[in-house]
């Protein structure tokens, strides 16, 4: 394999692994902060036990998210040096701001939160978890500002053989950011909600000690789940509408739409022949894609072949078609998992409202397994958005093949790929082991002095 392919595998692996952990950090930080806030306001130690229980899992997950993030920050220079030269004038800024504004904040105050139970006042302690939540969610905003430039370049000019920033404000107000960031935020809340729901359900079924902690957590996360899943779907929908206009090839690949259509039909199930760009077998719902794209039964959605022809005139000869099957299926898996979560979240909320948590039903056996759903959706969602942008690393400006480092040999990338894979697999096993251990353990003895502030 050449260095390009290996570098792409490595980026895919390290980014996927990093984002496997980050959404839980983003979503759970807010939940834990809310729990502790209620404790500080009401003095009810139920909320303290909730804070401690979920806080412990939060911290384990957080650490691995942080250390895997460093790789991503360095990897642009290591494996994608030509990208860094061409885009650094624009892309470096949000990364540096992310570190200055967000990473310092979250890391410093997480230290205060973990070690400060007996060192700082209650108010400062709860403030520090809010600052952790703020810091981590701000970091998501800045990295998505950077990523959005790759999807939809704005505020730049091509000069001195590279892309140069001319409008920082345009970078911040990139319309792509303001659908992508809320989508990621809502997805992270969904992740945390199903994490808490699943573990709470597990304890409710087993009638663990401290059942009150898990009943209360279940109620909270059922609400959180329904709200977050609705948001993720609604925002995702407007994100897709934006994509039809700004990245039509990505949408065409998501729908396996070979020819432009007006009105456009949506694929329910397609088996395609990718090399020949045609269907082998397809069930399509007429009008539906136009309705989804434009909120009306007519309106052209461009097809893969038409876009390929158009891009050849604009950008010169070449293949501008992303891997269609991967795009098509990752998109569907993401959306499917989203709707499944909405159903499960609604079911959990219904149980909560009918107050039947003491008599667990089938749902409570399903929910622990449903923890995988948000992870599945997060991963396929990112795979879709990055893979369906190919062959571009920055849409319309630079191709992935032109972005790779010239000085790094295939042997070197293979070495690092193997090393990172080994480290990540071990790390993942240790992380999962600890999460399982503490998730199963229950919520500690309420009378234990250990849980009090100093």
């Amino acid at each position: 394999m050449d260095a390009l392919t290996l570098a792409r595998w490595q980026f895919g692996l390290t980014a996927t692994f990093h984002f496997f952990l980050v959404p839980l950090t983003l979503g759970l930080s807010i939940l834990v902060a809310l729990m502790e806030t209620l404790y500080v306001r009401t003095g009810d130690e139920l909320y303290l036990r909730m804070t401690k229980f979920w806080g412990k899992l939060f911290v384990i997950n957080f650490a691995v998210g942080v250390v895997t993030g460093i790789v991503l920050e360095f990897q642009f220079g290591m494996n994608w040096a030509e990208y860094s030269r061409f885009m650094g004038d624009i892309f470096g800024a949000p990364l540096a701001i992310e570190a200055l504004l967000a990473f310092f904040l979250e890391s410093t105050f997480l230290g205060v939160w973990i070690f400060g139970w007996e060192r700082v006042s209650k108010r400062v302690h709860v403030l520090s978890i809010w600052l952790v939540a703020l810091g981590s969610n701000l970091s998501a905003l800045w990295i998505l500002i950077a990523n959005s430039f790759m999807q939809e370049p704005v505020g730049y000019v091509l000069r001195n053989g590279r892309a140069e920033m001319v409008d920082f404000w345009a970078l911040l107000t990139n319309p792509h950011v303001w659908t992508q960031f809320p989508h990621v935020l809502a997805a992270s809340m969904t992740t945390a909600a199903f994490f808490v729901l699943g573990i709470s359900a597990y304890h409710l079924v087993r009638k663990s000690t401290n059942l009150d902690v898990f009943q209360q957590s279940f109620k909270w996360s059922a609400v959180y789940a329904v709200v977050a899943t609705c948001l993720v779907i609604i925002i995702g929908h407007s994100q897709a509408q934006h994509m039809v206009r700004t990245q039509p090839m990505k949408m065409a690949a998501a729908e396996a739409l070979w020819e432009s259509q007006n009105p456009a039909s949506m694929s329910l199930f397609t088996i395609g022949n990718e090399p020949q760009l045609k269907d082998v077998f397809a069930i399509r719902v007429p009008y539906l894609l136009s309705i989804l794209a434009y909120n009306q039964p007519t309106g052209e959605v461009q097809g893969i072949k038409n876009l390929q022809a158009e891009y050849q005139t604009t950008y010169g000869p070449g293949n501008y078609i992303p891997p269609v099957a991967v795009s098509y299926w990752t998109f569907r898996f993401m959306v499917g998992a989203g709707f499944l979560m909405l159903v499960l979240g609604g079911w959990a909320l219904a149980k909560t409202l009918r107050n039947t948590l003491t008599d667990p039903s089938r749902l409570f056996k399903i929910l622990p397994l449903a923890i995988v759903l948000p992870y599945f959706a997060n991963t396929t969602g990112w795979m879709f958005t990055e893979i369906a942008r190919q062959p571009w690393i920055v849409f319309g400006l630079q191709r992935t093949q032109d972005a790779v480092s010239k000085s790094v040999t295939p042997g070197e990338v293979l070495t690092s790929l193997i090393l990172f894979t080994l480290v990540y697999v071990s790390l993942f096993s240790a992380d999962a082991f600890l999460l399982f251990k503490f998730a199963r353990q229950g919520a500690g003895d309420p009378t234990h002095k250990d849980t009090a502030y100093g």
Partner: protein, 337 residues
């Protein structure tokens, strides 16, 4: 002063902060198997840097981000050129960070033994590799007209750079021993102080050796002249004085002195480089400078505003966190890690 110089200075500041802070973190990790004779002592050592290590590491991440934003060509050439050492460093940092968080979360001796080993190796490797990287920056590396590093991996492992690797390794270990003696009470604190006494002569010898050799093999010190000026001399003097303070058991002062020596040495290196950021051994015209490696004036302006408004806050709350956790760790301190 133009913005290119401002950003060169700012990145120097970030590296000073990083080496000063993460330097003692690495030192503590390196000393873990030597000073931590039992699990309780090892826990105390890890907890001594527990609230800080993550934020200390952010200085490196910020330095990397600042290089990317202000000097993309420097970031691209150095990170792709020093590829394998960076991979090793990243693997070490990942293992080490996870180890701090994980080691005390499970009781068995084997579990803790593995993570303690990773803390040791994960601190040793970066402490060594940073010196190697600095040595190569001072020495110059082959960079071709397309700003691409053309030297390969083994070119980076030259004797001069390895000497610098040993220097940072030993100086950070000394810095860490002094830090531990300040943070920990009782027997373990004493042990750390004695370790500092024993490490100090090695730090002095290897430090002066690396600087001395530098006069012959790099142009840095030639440029500085026989009387290099107050900053490099101060770096050497502070290292010497720290030894006196260690013997007098004035560990606070000793820590200040090793810190000062680390800071002034880092500044000396940046002065030696200026206005270059990477020296090409293939010819002076091929070196990367703060001009040919830089971002556009617009980006530098935006980033200057951002940095100037944010950095004071960062310094304030990080300083506050050190103040909050100033109380020394003793046998009865409740340990989180």
């Amino acid at each position: 002063m133009d913005l290119n110089t401002v950003w060169f200075l700012l990145i120097a500041v970030l590296f000073v902060g990083f080496f000063f802070l993460e330097g003692f973190d690495y030192g503590v990790g390196i000393l873990l198997p030597f000073l931590g004779r039992n699990d309780q002592h090892r826990r105390m050592m890890v907890n001594a840097i527990g609230p800080f290590w993550d934020a200390n590491e952010v200085w490196l991440i910020t330095a990397g981000g600042a290089m990317f934003a202000a000097f993309p060509n420097w970031y691209a050439t150095m990170f792709s050129g020093f590829y394998l050492p960076l991979v090793l460093m990243l693997v070490a940092l990942i293992a080490r960070g996870a180890a701090f968080e994980f080691r005390s979360k499970h009781e068995t001796g084997r579990w803790r033994g593995v993570w303690d080993g990773l803390i040791f190796v994960g601190s040793l490797v970066p402490a060594l590799l940073w010196g190697v990287a600095l040595g190569n920056l001072l020495l110059g590396v082959p960079i071709d007209p397309s700003m691409t590093y053309v030297g390969g991996f083994f070119n980076l492992l030259n004797p001069y750079s390895l000497a610098w690797g040993l220097t940072t390794l030993i100086v950070f270990t000394l810095h860490g021993a002094i830090f531990l003696s300040l943070r920990i009470e009782g027997e373990l604190g004493e042990l750390a102080m004695r370790a500092a006494q024993r490490i100090w002569p090695f730090a002095v010898v290897i430090g002066f050796f690396s600087v001395g050799v530098g006069y012959f093999v790099t142009d840095m010190f030639a440029r500085l002249g026989v009387d290099p000026g107050v900053i490099p001399l101060g770096a050497g003097a502070a290292m010497l004085v720290s030894g006196w303070f260690i013997r007098q058991k004035h560990m606070g002062w000793a820590f200040g002195m090793t810190g000062l020596s680390i800071a002034l040495s880092t500044i000396t290196m940046f002065i030696g480089l200026y206005p270059r950021v990477m020296v090409s051994s293939l010819g002076p015209s091929l070196s990367l400078t703060i001009y040919n490696a830089a971002s556009s004036p617009y980006t530098l302006r935006v980033m200057s505003l951002v940095a100037i408004s944010l950095l004071p806050f960062v310094l304030f709350y990080q300083g506050w966190s050190y103040w909050t956790f100033r109380k020394r760790i003793s046998g009865d301190t409740k340990l989180e890690y």
